[in-house]
């Protein structure tokens, strides 16, 4: 990269099912919190990038209303209609352009005000899938799960082990929503069935929440903080739409990860990355993510979870924060992964700290994780 860019501040809400705050107050708190954490004020910010969707916000061009809450009044501002991790990617590019030095990135969703799974059917092709009426994000994820599980002989128990790991991890995270310190594989397998094999505890919960980070150019970052978290590599990739996609693997994540590894000079992620924060909207997706990130061979994600290698005490901890299964305020979820990865590097992951010099954060958006973005963060 031409210059370097660092994360210099962050904040997130206490994600929960039904937050007693307006959307604007929620946005205000995390924006203000991230600026405070960076030790700068609104006046120092050059550009603001937000992430949410109009459907989930219940109004079109919804950033027009949240702009004052986020601190974008009379500033350069733009919005991505997807996960906040893509907003961070966008903000990074704005700084690399040389035009801006400091960017504020904010993402939020109040999942409690509208059924997000109903909204998901409106992301489908209006001519075919939507008219058939079979698919929504959950039933499509069920197809994805079955294709993956059939191809590689993955059992429901192995998928449930991902849920157990993440829900137990969430119990140690102050900001997580669904904390289950004593959950068992049996409990997961007996939880409510939505579309076979997707169950209540193998899909992410509907959460209200927000997250914000401050990005700065190398020069500004060194002025602002003694503990910059450098973005060493980044990759973003978009897959094809359903029908001609290979649902049993995450091709676009694999490509995004390779790009990010290349930029960061990572040749062996298993050995060179200390902790992973990924957006598994469904438990089976985390196994697919292991494979796409190159942590194991195709179809061998089940071995990593069975051997406990991705647990907090394992060799490659994945989602010590509890991941998306622990809280999923939809558009904020990927940006929260970036924050959780940055916390690990700054040594601020109270209760679930992993000794980390380099971390990976992943965000996704779209039916069956159609679009993916990967960040490699480091301390030096």
């Amino acid at each position: 990269m031409a210059g370097r860019v660092a994360i210099v501040g962050y904040a997130q809400s206490h994600h929960q099912h039904d937050i007693q705050m307006t959307r604007e107050d929620m946005v205000f708190e995390v924006a203000k919190g991230a600026l405070r954490n960076a030790g700068i004020s609104r006046e120092d910010v050059d550009t603001v990038i937000t992430a949410s969707t109009d459907f989930l916000d219940g109004r079109t061009i919804s950033n027009l209303y949240t702009s004052m809450a986020v601190g974008a009044y009379l500033k350069d501002e733009s919005k991505v209609e997807e996960d906040g991790a893509f907003a961070a990617y966008y903000a990074l590019m704005r700084i690399l352009s040389g035009v801006h030095d400091i960017a504020l990135v904010e993402a939020h969703t109040q999942g409690s005000v509208v059924n997000p799974h109903l909204v998901s059917s409106y992301t489908l092709d209006p001519l075919f899938e939507r008219q058939y009426g079979f698919l929504n994000d959950i039933s499509a994820a069920a197809l994805q799960a079955r294709m993956y599980m059939n191809k590689y002989g993955v059992s429901e128990e192995q998928v449930a082990m991902v849920a157990v790991k993440n829900l137990m991890n969430a119990a140690d995270n102050l900001n997580a929503h669904r904390k289950m310190p004593d959950v068992t594989v049996e409990e997961v397998l007996n939880s409510k069935l939505y579309y076979d094999p997707i169950r209540e505890l193998t899909m992410s919960p509907v959460s209200d929440g927000a997250c914000a980070i401050v990005l700065a150019s190398e020069e500004k970052a060194k002025e602002i903080t003694d503990i910059p978290v450098w973005i060493e590599g980044v990759g973003s990739c978009q897959d094809g739409y359903l029908r001609d996609r290979s649902l049993y693997k995450l091709d676009s994540l694999q490509k995004a990860a390779q790009d990010a590894y290349g930029m960061a000079g990572v040749s062996n992620p298993f050995a060179q990355i200390d902790v992973f924060e990924v957006s598994e909207k469904y438990a089976h997706e985390e196994l697919m993510i292991y494979e796409a990130l190159g942590l194991c061979r195709e179809g061998k994600g089940k071995t990593l979870i069975e051997k406990g290698m991705t647990g907090k005490d394992g060799e490659i901890p994945v989602n010590p924060s509890g991941g998306a299964l622990g809280a999923d305020p939809i558009c904020a979820t990927g940006l929260i992964r970036v924050v959780e990865a940055a916390k690990q590097i700054r040594g601020e992951a109270n209760g679930y700290q992993i000794p980390a010099y380099r971390a990976l954060a992943h965000g996704q958006f779209g039916i069956c994780a159609q679009k993916n973005v990967v960040f490699i963060l480091g301390s030096e």
């Binding site: 604007e24 459907f55 059924n115």
Partner: protein, 170 residues
């Protein structure tokens, strides 16, 4: 009414719905409730910014200029000044729909009537409210005109309690 393109050979029109099949809600602080409750007692409430001292009516909870919360509420006057106005074209039966109804047919406005929409800066406020000016002909309204609130006879603590403004005559 769906907008149907002129039929062409290359494309067809497929009708579809855009109904999300459920409802959405907006979480409000107690701002709207407090404002509407004030109207019941003929009081117009605004929020005061502790940073810039501006008073915003109807109240808002965040000042974007100062990036601060505006928790303090103040009462502003029900008398103010027209800062801008817009005069509609004459209403005619069967020509337009407001909230799914024909305003002439329902008797909301008379045939040929012109409605005056005004932006009013109430005394004590730093922002404008948008409302209707009644009791004046289109040719009588001007920027700077002094107006006062017209209150509903039976107020119920709803936004409609503040019906319109009318010219202030002394």
């Amino acid at each position: 009414m769906p907008y149907i393109k002129e039929e062409r050979k290359e494309t067809i029109s497929v009708e579809g719905d855009w109904d999300i099949g459920g409802s959405t809600t907006w979480k409000d602080s107690t701002l709207l409730q407090g404002y509407a409750q004030g109207l019941k007692e003929k009081r117009i409430i605004g929020s005061l910014c502790p940073g810039c001292g501006k008073v915003i009516v109807p109240p808002r909870n965040i000042c974007g200029r100062c990036h601060r919360k505006m928790d303090e509420k103040v009462v502003v006057s029900d008398i103010g000044t027209v800062t801008c106005f817009v005069i509609s074209a004459p209403f005619a039966k069967g020509k337009m729909q407001v909230l799914g109804m024909d305003p002439v047919e329902t008797g909301l406005v008379g045939e040929g009537e012109r409605v005056i929409s005004v932006y009013v800066k109430l005394d004590g406020a730093d922002s404008n409210i948008d409302t209707e000016l009644i009791g004046a002909k289109p040719e009588e309204v001007y920027v700077g005109m002094r107006v006062k609130a017209v209150w509903a006879k039976e107020r119920q603590g709803k936004l409609s309690d503040l019906e319109a403004v009318e010219p202030l005559r002394d």
